[in-house]
Structure formats: structure tokens, C-alpha cells
Symmetry: C2
């Protein structure tokens, strides 16, 4: 059993600190990955502080993992030792239900296994995430990484990337469409890059006029400041699709006003307080509010391959693991452009 170094939360109140545990040796279809980089997702903070009331301690967060394959089980075909591999938000599922059958393991009827704080289907232990030196995972739940991409900037694709890529694909975002991205954070900046890359007229919606230049640099064709009532009115009923990535509590109504007849706004953020739903907006234009959550293994690989072809990665600030608690605080103040990524060599 490899001895795994990690950073863990011991309880909801304490900062994360050094922690050691053992992972199993890889089974026949599993690989053992030496983690090089792990992105810092807002969920990591929620879970560390038990803000969703479901955390088991000690908790090792981290589900945006990029590393190098250190060993492989006897039946592994997708990876060989030395390859780069990436792991996202889920590491297992029932593998036999209808959604699993079509590669939508994130919608597994029996529930997929999360990368951390979940019951491992193989050995019954609690899964420990990527703020650690290595991860053992079935090759079905690991992805290959295009060789032209910068590895720290790839890590956030595994959650922030696929979470925005998947709904933009599902709702067929492309040329001829006007698409809004609400929020310019870890998720939002990826949504912006993808929507623009897919050929849509992409409008960054933000409450901060000072984010305008950055949004344009990242690919926005237009920036709409949502506190500018006059500007919002001009854009009323003009959007084909809106991707709402904001996780801070916010009113949905102003964005629903922007939608065309029969258009959809998709939520991917998880506000702590459920927003009020004005049925009036839905009814008068037959619009929909939908939700979307990460993506399946097939689509995650497609997203990584697409990123390789179009040279798309996340904007990141690389930190040593020792700065994780400070990074959490800065994340709360939205003081990051646009995702922290931990350099795991700092664990050694």
C-alpha cells in the first residue's frame, strides 16, 4: 500500500493541515496516479467547513486532479506508466444502469462515487481527494490529457471545465446564437471561453463594470453589467441561452427577462439559499430554468480533446499546498483569477 501524504480538514472549524493515510494497491483495471496538480474548487471549501452538512472527517478535498501514472493494474489498456492522467469529480458508478451504459456516469441510477467524502465501492472506505500525493482509480474514470496543454491549467478543466462545457453542448450552443454567461469566476471564465469557442455571440454578464476588460480578453464579444437597468432593458428578450455560474445568492428574474421566447437558462452554481422563482417570467415567454452537473466520462474526454485542439485551458494561480487556507479565504473574497491550483510537489 502506498503511503499517501495529504492535507486534510480535521473538523469544520480547523484549518487544513498535513495528514497521512494509505491507499489500496491498484486492482486489475485501476491505475495509481502520482498527483502533480490539483485545482481548488469552491466545493472543497464548502465540504471542509461542512456547509452542506454531510462531511466525514478527516476530509481530504480535491477533485481537479492531474498527475502521472505510477503503476497500473494487469488489465489496464488506456494508460501506461509515465502517462499523464486526469481525474475529476467522480471516480466510480454502478456501471450497469442506463445512464452508465451511455457514458453518463454522473447520472448513475445508483449514485456515482464522488472523488472525496464518499463510500468507495471497492473497499468501503471513505474516498480521499486530490489534495494528496497519489490517487488510485479505475481507468474508466481517468482521462488522457492532450500533450500540448499546460498541466496546472488543465486541472480545473476536470470540474469547472466540464461543468460549463456539458450544458453548452447539451443546449447546442453555437454560431448564430446569443449566449450569456452569468458570473466570471472559476466556472464562469471557462463557460466564457467555451461559448466563444463554439462560435456563439458570447455576452459576459457581471455585476462589476471593472471586470469588463478581463472578460473581453477571455473571449467575451460583449459585456453586460447587470446592475445597469437601461442596458439590461436594451438586451431584453434577446438571449438564446444563459449559463448561470454564480454561486452567491442572486435573483434569477433579471436574467430571465433577457431570454427569448422558449429559451433556457441553465444553473450550474449551487447558491446556498434557493432563489425565489417567479412563475410569471417562465409563463409569459415559455422559458425554462434547468440545471446541469459536471459531465459523463465520454464527454469529459471529448472536452479535454477539444481543449487540446483549440488550446483552451483555465486561467490559474499556482500555490503550494501550505497556502491552501489562505487560498480559501481569498476565494471567499473572489480574489483569484480564476482558479487556484495546488502544485503537489510542495507536499514532499
Amino acid at each position: 500500500m502506498p503511503a499517501t501524504k495529504a492535507f486534510a480538514a480535521a473538523d469544520a472549524k480547523s484549518p487544513l493541515g498535513p495528514f497521512g493515510f494509505a491507499r489500496r494497491d491498484p486492482g486489475p483495471t485501476e491505475i495509481n496516479i502520482d498527483i502533480l496538480y490539483c485545482g481548488v474548487c469552491h466545493s472543497d471549501l464548502h465540504m471542509a467547513r461542512n456547509e452542506w452538512g454531510q462531511t466525514s472527517y478527516p476530509l481530504v478535498p480535491g477533485h481537479e486532479i492531474v498527475g502521472r501514472v505510477a503503476s497500473t493494474g494487469s488489465a489496464v489498456s488506456k494508460f501506461k506508466v509515465g502517462d499523464i492522467a486526469a481525474v475529476g469529480v467522480i471516480v466510480d458508478s454502478c456501471r450497469h444502469c442506463e445512464p452508465c451504459g451511455r457514458g453518463e456516469e454522473h447520472f448513475c441510477d445508483e449514485g456515482s462515487t464522488l472523488t472525496y467524502n464518499a463510500k468507495d465501492r471497492v473497499d468501503g472506505t471513505t474516498t480521499m481527494g486530490g489534495y494528496s500525493s497519489n490517487y488510485v482509480v479505475d481507468e474508466r474514470f481517468a482521462h488522457t490529457v492532450p500533450s500540448n496543454l499546460s498541466l496546472p491549467a488543465v486541472a480545473p478543466l476536470l470540474c469547472a471545465g466540464i461543468t460549463t462545457y456539458s450544458p453548452l453542448r447539451h443546449w447546442n450552443v453555437g454560431p448564430g446564437m446569443k449566449v450569456g454567461i452569468v458570473g466570471l469566476g472559476g466556472l464562469g471564465h471557462m463557460g466564457l471561453k467555451f461559448a466563444h469557442s463554439f462560435g456563439a455571440h458570447t455576452v459576459q454578464l457581471t455585476t462589476s463594470p471593472k471586470k469588463k476588460d478581463d472578460a473581453i480578453k477571455l473571449g467575451a464579444d460583449e459585456v453586460l453589467v447587470s446592475t445597469d437597468a437601461e442596458a439590461m432593458k436594451k438586451h431584453a428578450k434577446s438571449f438564446d441561452f444563459i449559463l448561470d455560474t454564480a454561486s452567491a445568492p442572486h435573483a434569477l428574474e433579471p436574467y430571465l427577462q433577457l431570454l427569448k421566447l422558449d429559451a433556457t437558462m441553465c444553473l450550474v452554481g449551487l447558491p446556498e439559499k434557493p432563489p425565489a422563482l417567479s412563475a410569471f417570467s417562465l409563463i409569459t415567454k415559455r422559458v425554462s430554468i434547468a440545471g446541469s452537473m459536471i459531465g459523463g466520462m465520454i464527454e469529459t474526454q471529448q472536452m479535454l480533446d477539444y481543449c487540446g485542439q483549440h488550446n483552451i485551458t483555465s486561467e490559474v494561480e499556482v500555490i503550494p499546498i501550505q497556502q491552501i487556507n489562505e487560498a480559501f479565504e481569498r476565494m471567499l473574497k473572489q480574489d483569484v483569477k480564476y482558479r487556484f491550483v495546488i502544485d503537489m510537489s510542495s507536499l514532499k
Copy 2:
């Protein structure tokens, strides 16, 4: 100008009482309808009491109108004197925008003209509804009525009928689908009849176990009592579509749990308090909450023709206009199976 007898609300606090006014003579494309029956919609009560804060007094409510053509303008082609004609929630629109062009006048870019309490596009007066002896309307906004249907039972089709027919058609409800109807009132009982008639396995969702027998009689293939947690659990993730007709404040979450992956729940009721929207439910199954509002003129005629072919009408309790205030009170207590309809001969 015909002298029109009516019942009107003089202000938000007073009961409706007798009122007289004049309607214009029909223009070239207009017809003058002697009203035989007018359905009593919950909106009539909301508007009479100014519960949406937009009522002009005196208010003559009523937008579920069936009557006999008394005179026609020189260019009218669809009706002749003596024909039965029906009018619903809207009586005009811009007629040149994109939605109007495809017969979706209810989504008119410039706003459609409501049958009462709206500014008349022709003469600038405030529209007065169907709790009256006659109505003057452009033939485009009047419908023919199949001769085999009972006229009082046709009246509610003009609002309750089309409001449920349209979303069931839009989301392609039919054989092989499991469809839920939330609420068994004026709208709900029509949704139930239509969904069953379209060939879907139709499940009536209700908080009252005592409504079970009636729901089965009206066409439910199954009744699910939403307060029965065990039964609700058994039906989790099994519905292809849910039509939510409840206008009393209610939680959406229990119904969202019933939806399959990628399924839609459509709201047609207008709860006074916007319900809280749990993003979690939307996200974990990529489900949608949508809204729908009446239907366009083409679809309303299709609905009436369909009702003629399949002998579908509303369940009604016919009252004289003098009982309208009592009917409002009984409606508030849900003491009606399932729609009051005013016999307008009582006005004379």
C-alpha cells in the same frame, strides 16, 4: 352602439353588481357576439380584488366566452349571423411581429390585448370582459365551436382548456409517457382529460386522498397522493412530464423528485408567492422547470376541434350572474367541480 348589460366590480372591496356601458359597432373584420355563457376563472377574482395591483375600475371580468353572432362587419369571412363563436383570454395583438405571424399572438412582441382590463387597440378604451351581454371582437380572435359540444361546458375551454392543452402539446405528451397533473381544479381537470386523451399514462397528483375517485372518473390512470411520502418515493424519477396547475403556494421540490433525467415540469398556475427553487434538484438530473400561458389563435381552434372530435368538455356548475359573488367565495374554498359558468340569460 349596442347597450351592454354587465356585472362589474366598482372597487377592490365591493361585491360585483349590475353595470351598463356601450360597446362600439363591429368594424369591417369584427363580429358582435351575444354572450350565452362565460366561465369564471380564478384570474377574474384576482383582478376584481386588485390582487395583482393592476386593476382599473369599473372592471367587467370574464374571458371564457361562448355566444351567438348577432352581427358581422362587411369583411368577416369566418362567421355569419347566428353562428356560435367563442372568445378567450386575448382579443387583439400587433398582428405583424414574428410570434403573431406564426399564430402565437399570446407571445406578441408588442403585447397582446387582454379580454378585460386592457387598453383596446382600436378605440383606446379599457376592454370589458364577458360578464356581459355582448362582445365585439375581430374575427381573428374568435373561434368556431364544434356543434356536438354542450355550450356551457365549452366556455372553460377558452382559458382552462387551452392553458393545459398547449403545454401538453408543446412537450409532445403522448403514448409511452408517464405524465403527472398537479392539482385537480379548473385547470387540473382539463389537463387530466387531455393528457389521458393523448394516450399518456396519466397520474393525478393531489394532496387530498378523497379526490381519488373523481380523478379516476375524469381519466386518471393512477392517483398519487403527494402527502404520502412512501408512495412519492416509489414514483421517484419515473415521470416524463409534469403539468403543475396548482395556484395555491406549494413546494416544487417533491414534484421535481418525481421527474426522470432530462424531464420537464411546466407551471401554468400563478402562485401569489414565488416558490423557492432548489437548484440541487435541477442540477442532479438536468431537469427543467418551464412555464406556459394560454395558447395562440391557431392552437386554440385546434384544441376546440380536437374537443369536438373526442367529445371533451369541462365539468361545470352553471350559475346565474346574481350568484357570482357567492361563486367567488366558494372558488376560494375550492368548492366547485370544476368550473363555474355563468348563464348570461340571467342578465336580462
